[in-house]
């Protein structure tokens, strides 16, 4: 476009000069000295002007882009555009997510301390729309200054159809919601897990096995499911007291009781951002040192509900693990662990502050582990994935057990 304009200008200029010169010359045919001199100086002036104009034109042309240059630019642009869209055509994607947190806590009867520093990276590798490997590590500083590293989960999922993904490896227990979906510190509205939803308590943590999960839409209603088969937990038995101390429901690559555990969860979403779910699992379990000399029944039941309405988030969950009796065991009696919680979180819009109340109740097999808890908290949300939490737990447990001690926490959590 610029190029055209400059050509047009050149032509126009030439035409003007061509017309102007003869016109000037023809102005008077009887030429006197004076007139001659006047004409001469006029011509000289015109020549000078012409020279100036030519120079300006030359400069102008130097600044003007040629057709070739435009083509070059276009080609470069196409190259950049194709590089920019390269990711759209790649088969594999690598992605890093996860979270970290820092916690200070002060519990009755023990000195206040910076009690937590955690980094949980999550690795994602996705091949087309077909495969996804997700793995989370839990890297945590311990009391004695050491660092513990655990594999929270590692699962290869195959997106088999629009309604089913099949996964194998170690995965968070599909029973219930807290351990699967709420425990990451940038999600959990309080610095602690509800009573009974911690490790070796009432809620199963993880499994090693195979799972199938997905969703359906039936008449506009979202239904989701997760079903699994895995090795199942083992029992921690106190042979001296003849008691079962805990059920260790964390995924392991051995199956001491010789029977697999089957289970799952079915959830429906009756309203936007709501969900109700039921969970169960069943199989057999053995004591850590007893193996399949003393196996017993193992069952899990759970129910959960969640609803987010504008600034108000409500959720609650019940979970129970139960084991049968085993005559040949050092701890022959049956046992159960059950817990539930209800939580409300309210965001004071338009500020970034949020208030949280949670009640939880844990009934363990050993009474000195029982705990009833009211937790109150105030959070400040820097972003949807970064919050500072301040909380106080009113704990009620067996007298003189540390389940009875109240606690205060401050936590900063960031998910990425």
């Amino acid at each position: 476009m610029k190029h055209l304009t400059s050509q047009w200008r050149q032509t126009a200029l030439a035409a003007v000069i061509a017309v102007a010169l003869p016109l000037n010359a023809a102005a008077d045919s009887t030429v006197g000295d004076d007139t001659y001199e006047a004409l001469k100086s006029q011509v000289e002036m015109l020549q000078q002007q012409l020279q100036q104009i030519q120079e300006t034109l030359k400069q102008y042309e130097q600044q003007t882009v040629t057709n070739e240059e435009v083509q070059e630019l276009k080609q470069e642009l196409a190259e950049v555009a194709s590089q920019q869209s390269e990711w759209k055509n790649t088969d594999s994607i690598v992605h890093l997510a996860g979270y970290g947190d820092a916690t200070y806590s002060d519990k009755e009867g023990s000195p206040g301390a910076f009690s937590g520093a955690r980094f949980n990276p999550i690795f994602h590798y996705q091949y087309k729309d077909l495969l996804m490997l997700g793995a989370e590590m839990a890297i945590e500083v311990e009391d004695d200054g050491g660092t513990s590293t655990e594999l929270e989960y590692t699962t290869i999922h195959l997106f088999a159809t629009d309604y089913l993904a099949v996964g194998g490896g170690k995965f968070l227990s599909p029973t219930g919601q807290f351990r699967q979906n709420i425990h990451p510190s940038w999600i959990n509205k309080l610095p602690t897990a509800p009573s009974g939803f911690g490790h070796d308590q009432a809620a199963p943590i993880s499994e090693v096995g195979l799972q199938g999960m997905g969703g359906f839409l039936v008449a506009g209603l979202n239904i989701n499911y997760g079903a699994y088969v895995g090795n199942g937990p083992i029992l921690e038995i106190d042979a001296v007291d003849g008691e079962i101390e805990a059920v260790e429901a964390e995924g392991r690559t051995s199956n001491d009781d010789d029977k697999l555990v089957y289970g799952g969860r079915l959830g429906l979403a009756p309203w936007p951002n709501s969900e109700v779910g039921v969970s169960f699992a069943t199989g057999e379990v053995a004591g850590e040192d007893e193996k399949n000399n003393a196996t017993r029944d193992y069952d899990v039941y759970g129910a959960d509900a969640a609803y987010k309405w504008r600034n108000l988030g409500l959720r609650g969950e019940f979970i129970k693990q139960k084991v049968g009796s085993a005559g040949s065991s050092a701890a022959p009696n049956s046992a159960s662990w059950q817990a539930w919680y209800a939580q409300a979180a309210y965001r004071f819009m338009p500020t970034n502050f949020e208030g949280v109340v949670r009640y939880s109740d844990y009934d363990a097999n050993l009474k000195n582990q029982d705990q009833e808890q009211w937790a109150l908290g105030i959070n400040y949300l820097f972003a949807p994935n970064a919050m500072a939490k301040l909380a106080y737990n009113f704990n009620d447990g067996k007298n003189n057990s540390n389940a009875d001690d109240n606690a205060f926490q401050v936590q900063f959590a960031y998910g990425f």
């Binding site: 992605h95 159809t161 997905g214 969703g215 069943t282 504008r310 972003a383 949807p384």
Partner: protein, 206 residues
């Protein structure tokens, strides 16, 4: 007795799992999920906005569409399909919505763009594209979305500014969520945006 129950469960659950897998597998014909060489249904931005608004704030705070680049949203949404039990189609819809909604603000989308437009009424555009976030009553369906019905709310701003902000996207100071350019629907043109703004004034304005 306990043992019997447990046996029945495992006797039921395993065939149940297999049956579920079989039913779902037969869905392969629709989804072509297994052979990515096949053509999968394209993600739909409008459906995606609704699925996103109705599901993505159930477990955690809503993550803003502008948080990630297009290529990062892909594995995140795949991850969230697994977490939230979405269907493959919902996954593609939500991804399309998020990828359309994170274009840089003030991305020089000009008023005279050559998009043919939808030709729909302001009301229809609102109920397809905007309602997921702004709600049927204009008060905002998810935290971070302003209340249009407040007399001192966003609709009290001059129209030219609102048009500009709808077309280019907008995030006010201190706001946690951005308004995506054209509400995330790239098909809207300037005439559509004018129509929907008129509808906002009529329905929610003072």
């Amino acid at each position: 007795m306990r043992h019997a129950i447990s046996n029945i469960f495992s006797g039921l659950v395993l065939p149940g799992l297999v049956a579920m897998a079989a039913v779902a597998w037969s869905g392969v014909a629709f989804s072509e999920g297994l052979s990515t060489g096949g053509v999968m249904s394209e993600g739909d931005v409008n459906r995606g906005a609704t699925t996103w608004a109705n599901n993505c704030t159930r477990c955690h705070e809503m993550r803003s569409p502008t948080e990630f680049r297009d290529d990062i949203w892909k594995p995140v949404v795949a991850h969230m399909r697994l977490r939230g039990g979405l269907t493959g189609e919902q996954q593609r819809d939500v991804l399309a919505f998020l990828q359309a909604s994170n274009s840089p603000r003030a991305a020089q989308v000009s008023f005279e763009d050559s998009t043919p437009g939808t030709g729909l009424s302001g009301k229809d555009i609102y109920s397809q594209t905007c309602v997921a976030c702004h709600g049927a009553n204009g008060k905002g369906a998810i935290p971070g979305v302003p209340d249009f019905t407040r007399p001192t709310g966003p609709l009290s701003k001059p129209d030219e500014e609102l048009l500009h902000n709808i077309i280019n996207g907008y995030q006010g100071p201190g706001s946690q969520m951005a308004m995506p350019a054209k509400g995330g629907n790239p098909e809207l043109n300037a005439a559509d945006v004018r129509a929907v703004l008129e509808y906002l004034h009529e329905s929610f304005g003072q």
